[in-house]
Amino acid sequence: MAPPLLELRQLAKSFGGARALRGVDFDLQAGEVHALLGENGAGKSTLIKIVTGAHQPDRGTIRVAGELVDHLTPATAHARGIACIYQQPALFPDLTVMENIALRLEAGAPFARVDWKGRRSRAVELLRRIGAEISPDAEVRSLSMPEQQLVEIACALGAGARIVIMDEPTASLTQKEQHLLFAVVRELRRSGVGVIYISHRLEEIFALADRVTVLRDGETVGTNPIAAINEAALIRMMVGREMTQIYPPSEAAPTEVALELRSLGCAEAGVTDVSFQVRAGEVFGLAGLVGAGRTELARILFGLTPADAGEIRLHGQVIHPRSAVEAVAAGIAYVPEDRRRHGVVLELPIAHNMTLAVQRRLFPRGWLRTEAEQSLALEFIRDLAIKCTGPDAPAGSLSGGNQQKVSLARWLATKPRLLILDEPTQGVDVGAKGEIHRIIRRLARSGLPVLLISSDLPEILGMSDRIGVMRAGRLVGVLPGGSDAHAVMAAALGQEQGAA
């Protein structure tokens, strides 16, 4: 038997303190579609980045077509026939299909004459090979997203790719477009190309894949032929059984309703008919896959994309925040997902970052008061155990976990009436993660209602008193705290209950 196209053994990779991969085994045969499945943060993206040469593994071996490769860069990965098709194709929108293909494939001699005839015939040939009906003269801007993906695939084939990685290729496609893409994937398989197919949609995996490998917490849980496994078993493999981390116990004695959403919706944000209640002192977890509409819901509550349907009641009072300014005035605090772009201003000192949302209260007449600011900052630095050289250090000089605490401190300083946390521990090392969990518990105990958005399933299960599950912009279920992971994952994936 020929050696596999790609063979990974015990691949490990850490970022700072966070271990993204702990020991992954994976192999890909010629003429195979091999699905890669796992929760958000299970290590799929890191794995792809290593295979495409963007990251170097800390440990482990990579063999391409049986040959040991000990240093993969984007250029050598390309030369060895590894290509990745991303969700958002990286093509030049103002150039034609033919020109885009040529740019990828031609070695540029600065003053060479352009061989338009050769370019055209190659483009036509490549597009024909994948069965795409796209004119080589069409401007890429005029193509639909799947057509652009097809152009990417044509480029990959033209470069002699033997290993094609597809990262959630159907995430933004319509049903019809998906079928077109599936046909191309099958065509690739027939021509002996190995396809690594990443998707959250189980039905696609069953329709397309030959084998499936499940990753969890940076480790391979198992590889199975698709015929030998069912959906319930896959879900079980994804979520695992035991908790990997100890979560502080909930002491919630929820009292009155603090936040109530009634049929809340916003067409622009893609959120429809969301209704739930959060009690004071309760941690309400929001689970769901990436793109399920959880961050969008938070942005509605924070006034960034105002609601166009339904009602928000905060402590019995109907509010309709149309801007972040209004949301803050209403007592809503939002610790955003993208810490570096939204959570803190990296260049500003820690102290300035912490007072940005309380300027009006701390400096009522508009004059900065350095002593008040410094003492507030020092208090939070001590209280949240922020590791820094002092309140004047720029926020950008801190580690991810400490930046997150600065972002949190900014909102705690406002003495909020509702705290929304969006992926509060994403990219944060284990120690800081535990500290943030304890802080969340403490805040809930003091009577603050907390809306916790997280893609880290154990975190949602361990921290929440109740769990709302969202899918495609809708709330598809509210489960009690301590629910098991299967139930949450099944709801998030849109599977019927009872299969497990």
């Binding site: 050598t76 300014v325 955003p336 803190v344 201003v345 940005l356 949302a357 300027q359 350095t370």
Partner: protein
């Protein structure tokens, strides 16, 4: 950050202060001034000291600098928010014409004409603000448009021919006399400088300008009223441009449509020379003041050098040297980064062929 806090140990604080852009600029300014004092001062045949070193000449520099200095003060908050306002020079011209017209053609009193001119300046700044915040157009394009618009209006009002003159002497004192030992307009400039300094360095508004300049999205997520803050800086810039227009008119005793032609570029040069980042966020008002002074001393000092007077090349040389000064200052600010990049690093592992 521009406001130092005395937390670090003394020797390191000294070193940090020495490496600050403002400190270096101050040293350049002093060196410049001493050079021109030495090379540009002489005694004429009658034994009278003439040239750069005289008090009259120093006051002259001050008078000529106030308008560009005011525009540079107006631009500092704008550039801190990562914006730009190219229209301030044209607005100076428009406001000068409006002021002259209100006084002579409409027949208003000088104080009333002044008040209306300042309102007009703020309103023109408001036009920039609306286009930038409500329509989300880039400041460079908006103010490039109003740059032409304001100058064009000034020329249309005067048909390119009318010059307003014969202002009352009481008004001309603002631009030509002295008050409390200094040129009168220097007091206006000093007041504006202190006010803008306090605004930028001591108020929550100034803090928001920086936050917006560093990260407009970050500022929005912090619940800051980004659009209101941006509107404020452009309206303020328009208002200060109108103040500069009144002073300009008083200094020259006439208001013409070409008043303040090209001043915006000098003002931007001064702000950037003063260490304010054109990308927003970082910078200081005292830096701007030093930048204005460095350019003003250079320009006027050159004109007093005997060799330059003989060659009659003051204008040309000052243009060349101002440009050179700006480029040197900008280069100096990136040198530490380049040096750190050149430092030897561990060689990357050899890749597979």
């Amino acid at each position: 950050m521009s406001v130092a806090t005395p937390t670090s140990p003394a020797p390191r604080a000294w070193l940090a202060l020495l490496r600050r852009h403002e400190t270096i600029l101050l040293l350049v300014l002093v060196a410049e001034w001493l050079f021109f004092y030495w090379a540009g001062t002489s005694t004429n045949r009658r034994g009278v000291v003439v040239g750069f070193g005289t008090l009259d000449r120093q006051f002259d520099i001050l008078r000529h600098t106030c308008e560009i200095g005011l525009l540079a003060l107006a631009l500092t908050p704008v550039i801190l928010t990562a914006g730009i306002d190219l229209s301030v020079g044209s607005l100076l011209g428009l406001c000068a014409i409006v002021f002259g017209g209100l006084w002579r053609d409409v027949g208003l009193s000088i104080p009333l004409a002044m008040a209306l001119t300042l309102t007009c300046g703020a309103a023109a700044g408001g036009l920039n603000a609306v286009l930038i915040t409500a329509l989300r157009l880039p400041p460079l394009i908006v103010t490039l448009g109003t740059f032409s618009l304001f100058r064009g209006l000034a020329e249309a009002i005067t048909r390119g021919a009318v010059t307003y003159t014969d202002f009352p002497t009481g008004f001309l004192a603002l631009g030509q006399e002295r008050a409390l030992g200094l040129p009168t307009q220097a007091w206006v400039f000093a007041f504006a400088a202190v006010a803008v300094w306090l605004l930028v360095h001591r108020t929550t508004l100034g803090r928001s300008f920086r936050a917006i300049g560093f990260s407009p999205e970050g500022a929005r997520y912090a619940g800051l009223p980004v659009n209101r803050r941006l509107a404020f800086v452009y309206i303020l810039a328009g208002f200060i441009a109108a103040v500069a227009a009144v002073i300009y008119t008083a200094r020259l005793g006439q208001a013409k449509a070409d008043a303040g032609l090209g001043y915006e570029l000098f003002a931007i040069t001064a702000v950037v020379l003063g260490g304010t980042s054109i990308f927003g966020g970082a910078g200081s008002v005292h830096g701007t003041l030093l930048g204005v002074a460095a350019i003003a001393v250079l320009k006027n000092g050159l004109a007093s050098l005997p060799i330059v007077i003989r060659l009659n090349a003051a204008e040309e040389l000052s243009g060349v040297l101002t440009g050179a000064l700006l480029l040197v200052a900008l280069t100096a600010s990136v040198i530490p980064r380049i040096v750190s990049r050149l430092r030897p690093r561990p060689a990357p592992p050899v890749s597979v062929p």
